[in-house]
């Protein structure tokens, strides 16, 4: 085993680049970004759908989807305790508990996780709620770990394992995964329950409404000989009166229950399907990302790679062959296509990936393709969710807003580390934006293409589909009056022009905004003399991105949307006020930024001399040689 560790270490060292290593903790957490995307996609769509009126009451569903995962997350420790028969560690493991406490304090955790023991063989893992933190391990492994912590040769290896687990609490990924996991699980269950209940209710109403609405309860109860007059009256008082029955009949005549069923299916099924995609791919990515961050935490704390490498090798099967090590030599890019696809579904990264990410920590931020696929697919899913009957009626007037804001804000967060370690970021930005918009373009081509094909091949089918689609998003689903189009061809042409125009408008708006963001971030990264930069500079970046996103929401997007759909909207008083607010926000933000820029940009914090050029990782002052933004560089030896 030692020979394998040494081989792995030499291989890693021989291939290590001489460039400085990026400190991934100084930049936006990829785990947090993916978590936020999952939560915003699901909860955002449901909350949007519960804004206004609907044939069925949606807001309890929205509230349930927000609070029930939280409740399930709080319940997690109990479930794990029951499922794995866990119990608090005894007096025989007091030394291990003390080591956990010491390590927790040294890495700055605000509470010490409690060690709990499983009677069965189980790997070391963490779980907990907001205030109850646990590290679980089997008793046998705990005893072995405690012994090895006492031995100088193996102490650092065992410490590495503990620090890895503690870093899950440090980065907060334990609650992000906990909540996201419950949200995905409960979304699926909730939607299945809602569909089953509402479809059942709908079919029941279809089956019974004709007979029920024709009933005369006074006559019906009059037929029961065994009832006394008083009891008869009690029953009659409970049932609807003749007048109420007449009103119900009138309401029922105007309602097409089949359309209500169609509304229910098309409102809820997208959540089930999209929840499944999020669970399969994004959830797995969230898991993998948290492991990379925890690995990075270990090497940052210990300042060297060997102990953690030994810990990782120890986790591999004892039948590790030498060819497994030589496989580490393979670039990840050379992995076969199906290996890559399978890799997308894995929750734990493989050994070679973990080594590669320690060697080159910037891999955490991904290649342009990984970012493009993640954002592009999610933008498309968000589009589909927002186009469902639950939300289209409300966001139909803002077709470009949500997706544009999502793309801009997420790519902006990805740009920050790219600016620091890449020589040029614009090729990547073009590729990411291009890919995202190409996906949207392809989707539009498919949907408009389908409509065109149906128009030519089967106009009746198209007519039926369009009527069903309109009925589904009708303000009161089930109303079957005035559906359909006099001229489907004109509708398809108009829809095609508007939707394809949006693709190019969004492309232009996104690129222009990203150009502004890139310019401002480049300036921000030169604020070498900004006080407490290691803690505050990234917060300024977040604030700036949020400010730009808000300004986009208030000024640019309403303007382009109005110009595309309804230019007269620009003259609406509310629209004018919102635009004015947006412009004022832009001006205030610009003034604040450039004032601070004048004060802090391009001055060495040590000698005060001007530093020229953009910041790149490892840049030093030309005058005194001081390392600029040293907190952006990871300090560990390969």
């Amino acid at each position: 085993m030692n020979l394998n560790v040494q081989q792995a270490f030499r291989l890693m060292k021989s291939q290590a680049d001489s460039k400085p290593k990026i400190n991934i903790f100084a930049f936006p957490s990829q785990t947090t970004i993916i978590f936020a995307l999952i939560v915003v996609t699901l909860l955002g769509a449901v909350f949007t759908g519960s804004i206004g009126s609907s044939p069925i009451c949606i807001w309890p569903l929205a509230l349930g989807m927000l609070l029930l995962p939280l409740r399930a997350f709080l319940e997690r420790p109990e479930r794990d305790f029951a499922k794995y028969d866990l119990s608090p560690a005894g007096e025989d493991l007091i030394k291990l508990c003390q080591v956990i406490e010491a390590n927790s304090k040294s890495i700055g955790l605000r509470r010490v996780p409690q060690l709990v023991i499983s009677p069965n063989e189980s790997p070391l893992y963490t779980f907990g709620s907001f205030r109850r933190w646990y590290i679980a391990i089997s008793h046998k492994t705990a005893v072995r770990m405690q012994e090895q912590l006492s031995t100088p040769e193996t102490s650092s290896v065992e410490q590495a394992k503990l620090i890895h687990e503690l870093y899950h609490f440090k980065t907060g990924d334990y609650w992000q995964l906990g909540y996201a996991g419950e949200l995905l699980r409960l979304t699926f269950l909730f939607m299945v329950w809602a569909v089953t209940l509402l479809v059942g209710l709908g079919i029941f109403l279809i089956l019974t409404s004709n007979e029920f609405l024709q009933m005369d309860f006074t006559e019906l109860f009059g037929q029961v000989d065994s009832l006394t007059p008083e009891m008869r009256q009690v029953f009659i008082d409970i049932m609807p009166t003749t007048k109420q029955m007449a009103e119900l009949r009138q309401q029922a005549e105007g309602t097409n229950l089949s359309l209500v069923l169609s509304f229910i299916a098309s409102a809820f099924f997208p959540f089930i399907v999209i929840g499944g995609i999020l669970w399969g791919f994004y959830w797995s990515k969230l898991w993998r990302m948290r492991e990379f961050y925890a690995d990075a935490g270990v090497v940052h704390v210990q300042g060297e790679v060997m102990p953690y490498l030994s810990a990782l090798m120890g986790l591999l099967s004892t039948s590790l062959h030498s060819h497994s090590l030589s496989r580490m030599d393979q670039s990840l890019d050379q992995a076969r296509f199906w290996d890559k696809v399978k890799g997308l579904l894995k929750q734990h990264p493989d050994f070679s990936s973990r080594i590669a990410y320690i060697r080159n920590p910037e891999k955490v931020f991904g290649q342009w393709f990984d970012t493009a696929v993640m954002i592009g697919v999610l933008a498309l899913l968000l589009d589909m969710l927002l186009a469902s009957p639950l939300t289209l009626i409300y966001i139909g007037n803002w077709p470009m807003h949500f997706v544009t804001l999502m793309i801009v804000s997420v790519i902006s967060l990805y740009i920050i580390p790219y600016l620091v370690y890449k020589t040029s970021i614009w090729p990547d930005i073009f590729k990411i934006v291009g890919f995202v918009m190409t996906l949207r373009f392809i989707w539009l081509v498919l949907t408009v293409g389908l409509m065109v094909v149906l128009l030519v091949v089967s106009p009746d089918t198209l007519d039926w589909l369009l009527k069903a689609a309109i009925a589904n998003v009708a303000h009161y689903a089930g109303r079957s009056d005035n559906l359909g189009f006099d001229d489907p061809t004109a509708f398809i042409v108009e829809a095609a022009i508007l939707n394809f125009a949006q693709v190019f408008i969004i492309l232009f708006v996104v690129l222009a905004t990203l150009a502004l963001v890139t310019f401002l971030l480049r300036r921000l990264l030169t604020w070498y003399s900004f006080p407490n930069a290691e803690r505050r500079l990234i917060n300024v970046a977040y604030l700036m991105i949020a400010w730009i996103t808000i300004c986009l929401l208030l000024t640019v997007l309403p303007t382009v949307t109005a110009l595309l759909l309804e230019p007269s909207r620009l003259l609406n008083p509310l629209s004018i006020v919102v635009q004015a607010l947006g412009i004022i926000s832009v001006l205030v933000g610009a003034i604040l930024f450039f004032r601070a820029d004048k004060q802090y940009a391009r001055y060495c914090p040590k000698c005060g001399v001007r530093v020229t050029g953009d910041y790149k990782l490892g840049k030093t002052c030309e005058n005194c040689g001081a390392l600029l933004h040293p907190w952006m560089i990871a300090e560990y030896e390969l």
Partner: protein, 201 residues
């Protein structure tokens, strides 16, 4: 030690009462039309003692009733006894009929006690309410589809008490869900409060 001895004796007493009551049901003739007070006292004793004994035994053997199988036993007993006393397999022999009628009453009560025990140990209130409501809708749907207008069937059963009751399944279903919904809600709220309290400790 004293507590467990006392509990053991109470359990034996409960089992004894159950056996005694079953003996009484089959040994005592049901034709007591000229002793109304005695009939009331007799039936009252049977109901009260059976309910008390079954309640204690469910609490005593709570480990069994806190799992899905144990919780569903009183429901199965209720459905079965209801079929035999009021439903499609109605027995005519008077002592046997009384037995199954009392079994229906006691099992109806026991479902409530078993549900309390179940929800005390397991946080399944929301699940019971949620899927319970789905079940009610679909049962009524299939019933209307295959049995016909349920209102008319109900009127028929009120007018023909001696006939086989086509809606015999409604009573046990209403009994089960009559317990599940309020207890499920209380259980859900109670467990939520408990979780928040534990979290804030």
């Amino acid at each position: 030690m004293k507590k467990s001895n006392f509990s053991l004796w109470l359990s034996r007493l409960a089992w004894g009462i159950l056996c005694l009551d079953v003996l009484l049901i089959f040994a005592v003739p049901t034709d007591m039309s000229n002793t109304l007070l005695l009939t009331i006292a007799y039936v009252g004793w049977l109901i009260l003692s059976l309910i008390t004994a079954s309640t204690w035994l469910i609490v005593r053997y709570r480990c069994f009733f806190s799992c899905w199988l144990g919780w569903s036993i009183p429901i199965i007993v209720l459905v079965f006894s209801n079929m035999l006393s009021l439903g499609i397999l109605r027995v005519r022999q008077s002592n046997l009929s009384l037995f199954f009628l009392l079994l229906t009453v006691v099992s109806g009560w026991s479902i409530g006690v078993a549900t309390v025990v179940f929800l005390w140990h397991k946080d399944k209130g929301l699940r019971l309410m949620g899927w319970g409501s789905v079940m009610i809708i679909w049962v009524f749907l299939f019933a209307w589809r295959f049995q016909g207008n349920l209102f008319e069937l109900w009127i028929f059963s009120l007018n023909n008490p001696n006939a086989v009751v086509p809606l015999w399944w409604v009573n046990p279903m209403m009994c089960v869900f009559g317990w599940i919904f309020p207890l499920g809600l209380i259980g859900f709220i109670a467990h939520t409060v408990r979780l928040i309290a534990i979290e804030l400790q």
